[in-house]
Symmetry: C2
Subunit: 151 residues, 2 copies
DNA sequence: GTCGAAAATATGAAAAATCATATAAATCGA
DNA sequence: TCGATTTATATGATTTTTCATATTTTCGAC
């Protein structure tokens, strides 16, 4: 074992548990993503676009949990690399529609498969009851957080 | 509501749910931390040290979910600012023991109180069953992730 | 229609984070 | 006890990320 102190605060703090779980659960797969030649934010963009091609920059940024100006640059690089294309929206010239190229789609679909396999492995390492609960609990938390602050 | 598409992959993907929950749940409190004049990594250091004063750099880095070289610099800055002191370990001169100053401790304890209040509010926004489950589920996940890969 | 506000994206400059590696101390065997 | 390894921390160079703000387009009230 590494360090077992019965820390009074941190080790039981919800925000710590969330951050640490996310971090640790993602590490393996993120390594895999990098081994495939992508940075994590790029993988996120691909995953979003497989679900819904032609998203605009702002929405990609929200879903990928990052800032708009960063997303602009990431899309630039992915464009330069031939994974996506940028196109103007017909109805609103401010918007940039990001679309997968054939190459981008292949890579994206392949990684989504890998991600699903990895997720299955993760969940199967949990007891059935925990595996059944975890997504529901997190979804509920997200729902609650979306609602405007009652205060 | 913002964007409700029934995304096939991302919105139900465990690593997304974890990252998004962590991100969203933390935003409010992190804003509070910054309003108090600290960056998030600095708050994490303070929280660790309240639990266990005199930690070494490496352990602080692990617990705060960041790299050692980054932690070195963060501790430097906190030292310069008078929140912590750096002292050599008596038995092992490689180690740097980081300790709270009086000022650092005051700030840390005050923020821990704030964090607890915030956590209580978060949990109370969940249904009782979810609130009761969430920490347990996350702890289980962390436990599982700590174990060496069975593959 | 026109004007002011809001929305979407882009960009330069600054700050933060990472990476590779250096240094120094402890540990472990032969 | 010497040398090879490992552990702990530090640091220079580079890459990422953020921040503030500019630009362009749309929207809404009048």
């Amino acid at each position: 074992m590494t360090d077992t102190q019965d820390d009074t605060f941190v080790s039981g703090y919800l925000l710590y548990l969330l951050a640490a779980s996310s971090e640790q659960a993602s590490t393996q797969f993120h390594d895999h993503v990098r081994a495939r030649g992508l940075r994590v934010p790029e993988w996120r963009v691909l995953a979003c676009l497989v679900d819904n091609d032609g998203m605009m920059i702002t929405r990609l940024a929200r879903l990928s949990l990052m800032e708009q100006s960063r997303m602009t640059r990431i899309v630039d690089q992915m464009d330069a690399r031939g994974l996506v294309t940028r196109g103007a929206d017909a109805n609103d010239k401010r918007r940039v529609r990001v679309r997968l190229t054939a190459e981008g789609r292949d890579l994206a679909e392949s990684l989504v498969k890998d991600a699903r396999r990895h997720e299955t492995r993760l969940l199967s390492a949990l007891a059935d009851t925990d595996a059944a609960r975890i997504k529901g609990v997190l979804r509920t938390l997200l729902d609650v957080l979306d609602k405007p602050d009652p205060a």
